[in-house]
């Protein structure tokens, strides 16, 4: 048994930390929070450019595509440090779409799309969910039909978060209406400037914007269907695999918890340091234990990936844990900060940067989004413990 980072991993962590130390400050973290999904601010752009210059966009890419081929554990270290610093994460275009194209695209498709991604010239919104197909992705109805050498796409997508800034959409569409529902889906690229594409904003509780995407007889070249026809559901699952490390990352929760602890250390209430309050001590200690526990689950996911396994159960465990824990941190945080905990983050007096009420509003999404926690628990049962499926 061994839980220590190797010297190489330790050095990598130091390197990432050093980079963060140089490129991340409170102003960047504030900008990141304030912009929400409103596209990148100037500081974030600088930061991401710096990441690209360093070659870190290709952190997880195979070396043959100019990537660094970092191990999952090294990726996990990177994600953990970035999140914990409150810096902007690499875009999904880089971490999810690109590696999928690398694996499933034809030589031509790779030649067409990867250089533009690497150059930061194009950016994708991810179009999986629909109003009636959320957790149950295989039920999606947006369809594409071949008309000569073009696909004609019709339908609507929900939660198409980056649509109002993206240049392209990475779309799951039904191309084989007669096949079984899991077998009838393909992945397709749709340029956002194609005629018939329209975007409608949807504002959600934490103050973030997402979108509904409408596709009305949108025509795209035949070659924009990436990989094989009918394999889209499995490609989406593959893409999920690239996100396993992120969805169970404890970095963000740890950052908010640290902000809360810092505030408690400073604060005096009723003439007494807040940190002497037994209830506060007990609550914070419990959260710390949970954070420690969640961290181990993320670490295990990374380790399992490096063993060449698909850590379905492990990453589901981490996802459940982190999402439910975030809710508890927010609740405890609000109560510890008291009435101040209600202040909007833009109020200068808001303690802990107003993060606790923001996390309170954000956390439900962590639990129902990305595959509800019910589905995650089912996965743990099936994949982790061999329980029978229905």
């Amino acid at each position: 048994m061994d839980y220590e980072l190797s010297p190489r991993e330790q050095a990598w962590r130091e390197e990432v930390r050093e980079f963060i130390g140089e490129h991340v400050d409170e102003a960047l973290a504030d900008e990141t929070r304030q912009r929400g999904n409103e596209g990148r601010g100037p500081r974030a752009q600088l930061f991401l450019d710096a990441l690209r210059d360093r070659g870190w966009w290709g952190l997880a890419w195979p070396e043959e595509y100019g990537g660094l081929g970092k191990t999952a554990l090294e990726q996990w270290i990177f994600i953990d440090e970035i999140e914990s610093a409150g810096a902007p994460m690499l875009p999904l275009t880089v971490t999810s779409v690109a590696p999928t194209i690398m694996r499933i695209g034809s030589q031509e498709q790779k030649r067409d799309w990867l250089p533009k991604i690497q150059a930061g010239e194009i950016e994708f919104a991810l179009g999986y969910s629909e109003a009636e197909a959320g957790t149950d992705l295989a039920s999606l109805k947006t369809r594409a039909e071949l008309d000569g050498d073009e696909w004609v796409v019709n339908g609507a997508k929900m939660w198409n978060t980056m649509a109002h800034h993206a240049t392209h959409n990475w779309l799951a569409v039904r191309t084989e209406p007669d096949a079984r529902k899991h077998k009838g889906i393909s992945m397709m690229i749709v340029p956002m400037d194609a005629p018939g594409v329209s975007v409608q904003p949807i504002w959600v509780w934490p103050g973030l914007r997402t979108n509904a995407l409408f596709l009305d007889n949108v025509r795209v070249p035949r070659s924009y269907l990436i990989g094989e026809r009918g394999m889209g559901f499995y490609y989406a699952a593959m893409a999920l695999n690239f996100e396993r490390l992120s969805i169970g990352s404890i970095g963000m929760a740890r950052r908010h918890f640290r902000a809360l602890v810092d505030e408690v250390r400073r604060r005096v209430v009723d003439g007494r340091p807040l940190r002497e309050d037994p209830w506060v001590r007990e609550r914070l200690a419990r959260l710390q234990i949970e954070i420690d526990a969640a961290g181990m689950l993320g670490l295990e996911t990374a380790w399992a990936l490096d063993q060449g396994r698909v850590p379905a159960a492990e990453s589901s465990m981490a996802k459940i844990y982190v999402s439910e824990l975030s809710q508890r941190i927010a609740d405890v945080g609000c109560e510890i900060l008291g009435l101040n905990g209600q202040l909007h983050a833009d109020e200068a007096r808001a303690l802990a940067g107003g993060r606790m009420q923001w996390l309170y509003r954000l956390s439900p999404m962590l639990a129902f989004g990305g595959g509800t926690n019910e589905v995650q628990r089912d996965i743990i049962g099936f994949m982790g413990f061999g329980l029978p499926r229905k």
Binding site: S129, E132, G134, T135, D136, S139, M158, W159, I202, W203, V204, W205, V268, V269, D270, G271, D277, W279, V280, Q327, D331, C334, E335, G338, L339, N340, G341, Q342, L343, H344, D346, E347, G354, Q357, W358, Y360, R361, S363, P364, M365, A367, F368, G369, T372, N373, E374, R377
Partner: protein, 361 residues
Amino acid sequence: MRPVPTPQQEELRAAVRDLCSREVTVERLLVWEGASDASELALLESIAALGWLGLGVPVAAGGSGACLSDVAILVSECARGLVPRSIIGAVRGATALGVIAPKSSVLASLATGDNRLAMAVDEEEARVASSFSTTVEVEGGVPRVRGAKAYVPDAALSELHLVVARDGQGPVLALTEAGGPGVTIRELRTFGGDRQAHVRYDGAPVVERIEGGPAAFGRLQEVRQALALAEMVGGMDAVLDATVAYVQEREQFGQKIALFQAVRHQIADMGIRVTAARHLAWQAITRIDRRALCGHELASALAYTGRAFRDVCVTGHHLHGGAGFVVENRLRFHSERAQSLAIRYACEAPALEEIAGALLD
């Protein structure tokens, strides 16, 4: 033993529900989140015209003289229907003053809605009254308030402030005019979009001093907490009902999600929490009403209900998924109020300590 509303209370409830279904639309909720507008004022006037602002105000002072439990029914139903907090606050203010100062000269104006009363209790660095730094002292023959109150709900919307201060002995309660000299109001942006403010009183003259000393303050707190319990219970009911409806409508994997046992069981657990909270809350409210609170039961009701409301909201959001997460869904308004009410009225730590004290000391 009759753990359900009386027929008269049911009538009141139905009337409120009817009003809310007409007047409290999502469009308006989104507007009211930003600021008071004409429709909010119109709703306040309708409610005043129905006599509800003065429901708990003594008849002699121009009110209906209903008991606190009846007011709690009103407040609970208003909370369920998402009546703006500023209006619930007006009911709260009138009721509280009616209870602690039934002969106050300003009561009649509160009952009609001509004036509204904000209650300035909390301070930034103090959670218990003995730490309050706001004082009432006679200066030049006139009692004046000096100090800063924090997170005062509807301070700028209200004509009168009831300030909890100290006069060298226990806490005292003093009425001041919000628009009078020496009062500075700085509004705050809160996550729930209600209208709170920091208020400085720099020698603001006292319009009326409420007699009764610490006992009056204690009673004020009880009344505020009773109405907070009513608000929480009303909100919780709304969240549970909405969620029960949603899981029977939403389909995934080819079936209503209510057919998934994991979903059903979350509904069951919400139901348990809501049921237990409702009874604990109403037991406390009715006993506050008849001044028959025993031991720790208010603390118990507050801690349980505050926690339950927030938990029920979290589960409600979870089961609603994306549909409940858009700003237009009523669910999130309830979730905001849940957090806001718990922070102000139902903090866990002091409740636990009070209960522990009753058990052990």
